[in-house]
């Protein structure tokens, strides 16, 4: 999978490494900004009130 992505990136190894880094950072951004905030309330780690629900 990652090998396949690497082979299909343009440019030489240096350019590919740069693009890979950008892809990784983009993925982390999407996770922190959208995916984790969405997932967090669905998981039972952080309910602090007594509410009977």
């Amino acid at each position: 999978m990652y090998g396949w992505i690497w082979r299909h990136l343009p440019g030489n190894a240096f350019v590919r490494a740069l693009i890979s880094l950008a892809l990784v950072l983009g993925t982390v951004y999407v996770l922190f900004q959208y995916v984790f905030p969405w997932a967090e309330p669905l998981l039972p780690f952080n309910d602090v009130t007594v509410d009977g629900q």
């Binding site: 999978m1 990652y2 090998g3 982390v28 996770l31 922190f32 984790f36 997932a39 967090e40 309330p41 039972p44 780690f45 952080n46 309910d47 602090v48 009130t49 007594v50 509410d51 009977g52 629900q53």
Partner: protein, 225 residues
């Protein structure tokens, strides 16, 4: 024969890479929960706290504003910072690194009320983790609430290290589970336990020991010095 084997080897390697990816994503989620949400929440709470202090110092037109924040909680046993107190215990309130007072299922009294129970909730981990050290509170420890013009000094008299989230009676205006049967001026802190999960709830009860008027320099009461 060898083409089929290559295919299988390829599939297994993709599967392995997916597993590694899933592990990394879970690791990132821990970083997010225990670090990044604290960064965001502390930033938001500092901003709101500064706003409240600004309003106290220079009250503009319009009277008491309870929406922005009611005051600050100081708990020496937690070490460190003041905790902004706001109305409500929904995640939109608590996720900004504040303690919220209950409006539901049992409405909280406010510190200035003649009697009642001032009931608060805050996060144990993440989102500012304002009640992270709740287990360090022992009987006799002070919990100080600072309003615009008064210091309310409470003393802890009972802790309940583990109860269920269904136990809403801990929030009663006379919290009988703490051993008190007479109306008084109580404070109740609730958060989740054990740390990093929310299987149970941790409860701490305190009782008002005295109040002090805030002076011009906002000199803190003896307990905080």
């Amino acid at each position: 024969m060898s083409r089929a084997r290559n295919r299988i080897a390829g599939l297994i390697s993709v599967f392995g890479e997916l597993l590694i990816t899933a592990g990394l994503v879970l690791g990132l989620f821990v970083v997010y929960s225990l670090w990044w949400t604290n960064v965001l929440a502390d930033r938001a709470a500092d901003k709101e706290g500064a706003q409240v202090r600004g309003e106290w110092a220079d009250p503009g037109p319009g009277a008491l504003d309870t929406k922005g924040g009611l005051g600050f909680l100081h708990v020496p046993a937690f070490g460190g910072d003041e905790i902004l107190v706001k109305q409500g215990t929904g995640s939109t309130v608590l996720n900004n690194g504040v303690a919220g007072y209950y409006t539901d299922p049992i409405k909280s009294a406010l510190p200035q009320d003649k009697q009642g129970n001032f009931t608060l909730a805050a996060h144990r981990d993440g989102h500012g983790a304002k009640f992270h050290n709740i287990h360090k509170l022992k009987n006799g420890d002070p919990i100080v609430f600072e309003s615009k013009d008064t210091w309310y000094v409470y003393k802890v008299y009972k802790t309940l290290p583990e109860t269920t989230k269904y136990n809403v009676d801990v929030l009663q205006q006379v919290p009988e589970e703490s051993g008190r049967t007479e109306p008084g001026r109580y404070i109740t802190l609730t958060t989740c336990t054990p740390m990093y999960t929310s299987d149970y709830r941790y409860i701490v009860w305190g009782e008002l020991a005295r109040t002090e008027k805030v002076d011009a320099e906002r000199t803190p009461p003896a307990e905080l010095r």
